[in-house]
């Protein structure tokens, strides 16, 4: 990739090792955004195929117990459960990184920006943990 060789001309080896430069650790954010995007892409394609072939789960007129049983059936396979966990972790990680950039772009008051950034990251983390816990409890209980 042409971008890699050009980048190293401007940084000393110690700078590269320490991750210094005006963007500091910013390029790590950029890279993780892409890496998580690729992970999510794979997970999503698998997930879309899996859910699309599931047929009727929630369609109207069906008894809620039936719907629940069908949902439990989908989760009973370990690969579907794993898929769901990958999806939850990937989604909130990628989303938190993305929202970080959005907040940095549009919020200029320092205290508000800090509060929103921290709030978003903690909320996404909480949602990840809750999502993983819910998925695992469906798998182990249902």
């Amino acid at each position: 990739m042409s971008c890699c060789s050009k980048k190293s001309e401007f940084r000393s080896d110690i700078a590269k090792a320490k991750g210094l430069g005006s963007a500091k650790s910013g390029s790590h954010h950029w890279l993780m955004q892409r890496v998580s995007a690729i992970g999510l892409l794979i997970t999503l394609i698998w997930m879309v195929v899996s859910i699309a072939t599931i047929g009727d789960i929630y369609h109207g007129g069906q008894s809620p117990d039936d719907a629940h049983a069908k949902a439990l059936m989908w989760f009973s396979s370990p690969s579907n459960t794993l898929l769901c966990i990958f999806f939850v972790i990937g989604m909130f990680y990628h989303g938190a990184l993305g929202l970080q950039v959005v907040i940095e772009d549009y919020v200029h008051k320092k205290c508000l920006k800090m509060a929103m950034l921290i709030g978003v990251k903690l909320t996404c983390f909480a949602a990840t943990v809750i999502g993983v816990f819910a998925t695992l409890s469906i798998y182990f209980k249902g």
Partner: protein, 138 residues
């Protein structure tokens, strides 16, 4: 107002028109849509976690969730989320090609932009019609 206060407050100066007069183009519109769909997808992600919790707990919460999911607004939200997903995914791939230095020429960027729009609309409508059919709704 004392002179000290006047010095500290920068005077409000007029701005030339910018967003209001700039011609919307495929490049700029797709870029802001990528950001908007990203935010919307994250909101939907929280709803997804709610669904997981509802399935896990079962009973009344699950019934309540199913009522929402099978209502008109539920299907609309699902369709919007799926469309946003396809769009964000395809435009994201376009972004990754740009990161590799490919397709940055304006003519190519415009073509790939339209390609993303057409593909994502087609994919989301097709997938959704297929799912609605298998659910017996359509």
């Amino acid at each position: 107002m004392s002179e000290k206060e006047n010095k500290n407050q920068p005077r409000e100066r007029p701005l030339s028109p910018h967003i209001g007069i700039y011609k919307p183009q495929i490049t700029s519109v797709l870029s802001i849509t990528h950001r908007a769909t990203g935010v919307f997808l994250l909101l939907g992600a929280f709803l997804f976690v709610y669904e997981l919790v509802a399935v896990a707990l079962g009973g009344e919460i699950f019934d309540c969730y199913v009522k929402f999911a099978t209502s008109k607004i539920g299907y609309i939200v699902a369709f919007l989320w799926v469309s946003a997903l396809f769009y964000h995914m395809l435009n994201g791939i376009r972004h990754i090609f740009w990161d590799m230095g490919k397709g940055l020429e304006i003519t190519t960027a415009r073509k790939t932009g339209w390609l993303v729009v057409i593909l994502s609309l087609t994919a989301s409508i097709t997938l959704f019609l297929y799912m609605m059919k298998s659910w017996g709704v359509v």
